[in-house]
Amino acid sequence: MRREHSSFDLSRARAAAAAGGKRFWTCLEELLDEDGFRAWMAGEFPAAVPLFEEPGRRQFLKLMGASLLLAGLTGCGDNRAEEALPYVNQPENLTPGVPRHYATAVLFEGYAQPVLATTYDGRPTKLDGNPDHPAAHGRSDAFMQAAIFGLYDPERSKIPSRARAPTTWEAFAGELEKLRTRWNERRGEGLRLLTGDTTSPTLIRQIRQLQQQLPMLRWHRHEPIGHANIPEGMRLAFGRPAMPQYRLDLCDVVVGIGHDLLGPGPRQVLHAGQWTRRRGEIAPGQGRQRLHIAESTPGLTGVVATTRLACDASRLPLLVQALAASFEIPGWPAPALEDDERAWLERAAGELRKSAGKSLLTVAPQLAAECHAAAAAINERLKNNGMTVWYSEPLHAVPEKEETLTALCRDMAAGVVDTLIIVDSNPVYTAPAGLAFAQGLEQVPHRIHAGLHFDETAQACGWHLPLHHALESWSDARAADGSMTILQPVIRPLYASRSLHQVFDMLAGIHDPPADGAVRATWRDAFGKDFDERWRRALHDGFVADSAAEPLTLTATAAPPFKAPEAAGGEIDIVLGPDPTIWDGRFANVAWLQELPKPLSKATWENVIAVSASLAAAQGLAQGDLAEITAGERRVRGAVWIMPGQARRTASLAFGYGRRSGGEIAQCGGYDAFALQSAERQGFARGTIRRIEGKAVIATTQAHHRMDGFDFVREVTAEDPALPSARTAKTLYPDWPAADHAWGMVIDLDRCIGCNACVAACNVENNVLVVGKDEVARGREMSWLRVDRYYTGDIESPRSYFQPVPCMHCEDAPCEMGCPVHATTHSPEGINQQVYNRCIGTRTCSSYCPYKVRRFNWYDYRKRDEASRAAKNPEVTVRSRGVMEKCTYCTQRIETAHAQADKEGRALRRDEVVTACQQACPTQAIVFGDLKDPGSAVSAQRASGRHYVLLEELGTRPRTTYLARWNDTPGEGEG
């Protein structure tokens, strides 16, 4: 309990101790009874404050304990009633144990991910996409699913601190008073704000108002990944910043240059949904959408693409240039291309032309603004603008030239920055090494950081203020499609944190701002007179009705002349990108995202250096070797991963690891790719790679990736669109009396983009525990549902496949027969049940399982995963040591549905039961339902010509089956 200026005075202490007679004290501050201590107590343990009037140690400790307990349960924030609807208004409606759902959103790069939060007794346990939301349609991605663990992260910063010593909000308010007078004198001169991208109307309003008070105040923005080049490119193309909005569902042809449309990011759910709507249509005659992707490092979109070109990062601009040239965009000379590039490009250009108006060209966000301008121009030529792509106001507040991080660093170095307030951003870690942000920061006299974690930046700042998690706070933001969501808290704040709007209110001089004040203020203006009604509606729906972005009518003035830099000789391309599971490190302290396998490498708990087979061969690198990447004078060292389909002379690095602070889990390992990030070019560098001594154990969940001639993943082509119909597996065994329902699942491999949303959802729904890197390395990961990844063909340009594998729920299950104690049996509805409390752990079932979908608790993993304890789903047993576990088709959901139906005295509705994986899947690749109901979706799927059974020859008669993938790759499939 060290506090600032606590100069210790022994004599005073003695005196106090003597004077007090038998007065009890727990620490010196209490003994000396300093105001600061009282204040601190008031902040931390309001319940304990009155005690100091009549001190009594036992009672004090009692209440202290109680108060701490409260902190664990509901949080020890101030107890003013905020109107979270409908929770606080009708508490009498609350039945303990019955979940309640709240529509709100979590934030990702400033964008709202609209969610429906399931809470038990005021404790959120599960997030799913908001089914009514136009952008989400109830679908989710891994980050959305994992947000719950971000909320319960025990290493979140809990109280304000100054110079790393705990202090109070009051103390900060006091400090702020002093600062504000100075700011007012200097009209904000030297006062700088730094935030990430934000779409929050309230935040923008607050900052603008602050700028009115302090005209010289400057608001800088820094989004480590972001998409800064896109609005810039639109500015070049249209003369004003804008955001392209794609309509993949209207495209016959999509050409993506380096653009992982379906990959992780704020737009993944939106794009995946659109893509699926079009992909689903495979009626004969009406062709399929054709997707042509050129990429330097394999992405999810490349896996499902019709044609995929592995192209070095430095040559991607050349492709754009060539394409622009072929569409006669003035000032874009045709570059020299290699044969495979030209072949791909000609096909792409041809198809773009062929289906003009129904085609789309997109380029990677990290490509230069000129490329985006060119793309806009080309789409203009193709009459695609307004059809397959339209343009909206930028959803986030676009920074001016002077508002970038670069400008800030320049000023800091120049010493003109007096106060820097960093809100919900971690530039010390995420700023490009080229900008030397940390060094600059030291020049700044007053440094204030507000964030969720006591991270690298917090350590470099005098003041650190804990922020609410999105699920604790009132706020607002815009989803990827622009529609507004008002975030409402679904849980009382766990710690003495405040929402960022409260922080900005404080900056504006409000001493103790209400939690929802700012947000209400914003919307009171927006909604006008029928505020209450619309406010309630917005909170209830989870979004503000028809607030989606409006299309702008723009005409492209030709893109400015541009000549892509020719690649220089000896060096290789280095691509720096977000990590698919922890992004730029903001999710790094979520153990459970760390353990989520990266979609393609299947590595966990660290980032690797992905290189092509040929580059590895040239450098004498083997899987797991340590290598050093050098770009100029900057270098990082990491483990090598030989990535099939990687462009020949490109090494891909991922951000987010090599953290120096911010939590035990965050600092789990890996290298810091930001160290290579240059000031000028985002996400790209040129340099060399060389092998260094040592080998790393990469904890991957799938060591082997070749299908080795087996047909685990089957394919159909337009020529022969049907597989041999499934053999009716004959069995000598008499049939068991079956119930009214026969649950089954069909997974459409043609739709799976391997995004991990299903795995994530399954883990949250079923309380699947985290086991840690070492255990994963030993092949002991716990996830019930895994996404297998296979390759066929040449390692340089392979064909890749994803195959989600849950339990097959075999009718004649080998596992059940093996269990000596009836711990795994067959339910009348055909579910292969695992009875945890009966299991004695002989593991016979797993030995006999041909699909190896069973998972075993080798240790008591509950001890290792206490972080997520509060997030546990009360409907699902948490498994103890020595017990086998596996996919249950979310049996708890089935039973809940049954109970509900019985209560209402009706039969189960068609497709009423939805499994967690099915619910999450952004492409609706997973269908679950009743096989006995011929009208159910799953029965329909089973009737498809693409239907097949995994390892059919074993005669296990699985309930989980697959739909074969379409192969439309020219030469392989349809021409």
Binding site: Y733, P734, D735, D812, P814, C819, H822, H826, S827
Partner: protein, 178 residues
């Protein structure tokens, strides 16, 4: 008379199994019926000579086997009947699968009953016995062969029996006290 009452029998010691068998034959010819012989290892001829009849041990084995078989089968069938569960679609009464345990239990019972039966019929364990008092009887487990005319024999008379046995040229003769 007292010592006859008190006698257990007359014990004659022989050098070899053959001698013992011959002696036993003579003794039966001599009209003695209550005879017993003690040897360091089984001598099958003796059973013939002494007209020993014994089937019960083998029968016990048979009964045991049958019992084991029934118990095992009944147990497994009842278990499947009492709480029928669909196990991998296998039949509820999977006789083929039940065969193994049935066989094991059959063997177990068929093995235990004769073993115990043998001990019980032999009146073992019996840690003390009059014969152990005999001077040279400890050699019965080493290399000597003993013939014993039990006192319970109607023809038994300490004097006569001793004379009768002397004619068989034993290595030693001893009257064993009850």
């Amino acid at each position: 008379m007292e010592n006859e009452q008190a006698a257990f029998g007359m014990l004659a010691e022989f050098e070899s199994a053959e001698a013992l068998v011959a002696a036993a034959r003579k003794a039966r010819a001599g009209g003695y019926r209550e005879l017993d012989a003690f040897t360091p290892f089984p001598v099958p001829e003796l059973a013939r000579v002494l007209r020993l009849r014994e089937r019960r041990v083998l029968l016990l084995g048979l009964y045991g086997g049958i019992a084991g078989f029934c118990i095992a089968l009944a147990m497994q069938l009842y278990v499947s009947f009492d709480y029928p569960l669909n196990v991998g679609g296998r039949p509820q009464y999977a006789l083929t699968a039940f065969a193994v345990v049935t066989f094991e239990l059959t063997v177990l019972f068929a093995a235990l009953t004769p073993a115990l039966g043998m001990l019980i019929l032999n009146g073992l364990p019996r840690l003390h016995h009059p014969l152990f008092a005999a001077r040279r009887f400890h050699l019965a487990s080493k290399d000597r062969f003993f013939l014993c005319v039990l006192a319970s024999d109607g023809k038994f008379d300490a004097g006569e029996t001793e004379n009768f046995l002397r004619k068989l040229k034993p290595a030693s003769i001893e009257l064993v006290k009850a």
